[in-house]
Symmetry: C2
Subunit: 187 residues, 2 copies
DNA sequence: AAAATAGCGGAACATTGTTCCGCAAGCAAA
DNA sequence: TTTGCTTGCGGAACAATGTTCCGCTATTTT
């Protein structure tokens, strides 16, 4: 991490960014399961180079989406402050989360699959999103708006699963079902 | 299908059953993604033999679970008759479906993944389970117990997704979330 | 200038779904 | 019965994909 100065380091950084850009584009076109080789070709590098920067496939996916995940998490406190009720904030935040998941082809499925190679991604989502969700949920419970049985992790996971879309179950359906789920949480 | 008489045919049938048994056992141990080679070894046959009987992986999975799926579908009309209210029937039927999914490691994820190789399985579940669910749902709508916006397919799919379990989200959580979802459907 | 090393490209390896081919044995025709 | 066809089978072979490994180049260090 201590970015040693020098031409080489700078070049490496450029390569890394190129890989991230290529991966991002590939994920849009082919979903998160885009083959590493395709990404390497897009980026004009060898596969070894990708693995040098990102030890595993999940690390690459993680790096590509980290910013968006952080943004989503940061949204929670703001919504809580601005919304009429804690439940309304939770509802709006869920919508943001759904929008994030649903625009990333296969991300939901990848998360749900339990693929051991995606542990990192899973961990990241959990570490940053669960606390954010917990904040909202706690506020809802405090206001007696939702069943205290429901945990942030379980809710996040359920929402994530509901966002696994396909040809006959698209983002609209996912959004609707998440809304139904939240309605069911309500006191 | 016209079971030609003869020693060969009988042997083939025996082989087929052996494969089904081996697959069933392998699915319990390793989940539905158990490699074909493992199943072949368990059954004491070559991989070619498996493909002779089941053109694709999904056909094998389908064959293994077909009976249980049919049983589940057949449960719907009976519950509708015996239950106090249509919604209660729907609720009980959902529990049965959840139990089915949740005991098959990875089945939910496989269904959700959109893996093109599993089209057959997907189609089977849809063809037999969706009509069963629709019966219940229609009764609920007629009794004004659930929102008519909800379609059988969407509900099935949502329940299926909620049943994608993992280390930190198990069958208990899945059952709870499905109950919450149904509560949200209620009028 | 020589030696060490970071960064890179791509061949090579492992796993898995699927196809293909040759073989053994039952079955039918001669 | 003998001969040739067909069924069913086993496993090698192929393709796709994640991942590791090795040798090369050019920068950095001594």
């Amino acid at each position: 991490m201590p970015e040693g100065t020098g031409v080489r380091r700078a070049q490496a950084q450029r390569t890394r960014n190129g890989v991230l850009a290529a991966a991002s584009a590939a994920f849009v076109d082919q979903g998160v399961q885009a083959p590493i080789r395709d990404i390497a070709e897009r980026a004009g590098v060898g596969v070894g180079t990708i693995y040098r920067h990102f030890p595993t496939r999940a690390d690459l996916v993680t790096a590509v989406y980290r910013h968006q995940i952080d943004t989503c998490a940061a949204l929670a406190p703001r919504l809580l402050e601005e919304s009429a009720s804690p439940f309304s904030a939770l509802s709006q935040w869920s919508n943001a989360f759904v929008d994030f998941l649903v625009t990333k082809h296969g991300l939901g499925a990848a998360l749900g699959s339990g693929d051991p190679g995606l542990e990192n991604l899973h961990a990241l989502m959990l570490d940053t999103l669960v606390p954010a969700c917990a904040t909202l949920l706690d506020a809802c419970v405090a206001a007696d708006e939702v069943d205290p049985e429901i945990t942030a992790y379980t809710l996040m996971r359920a929402i994530g699963n509901l966002c696994i879309t396909g040809p006959d179950y698209d983002r609209v359906d996912a959004g609707r079902m998440v809304a139904v789920l939240l309605a069911g949480c309500r006191r």
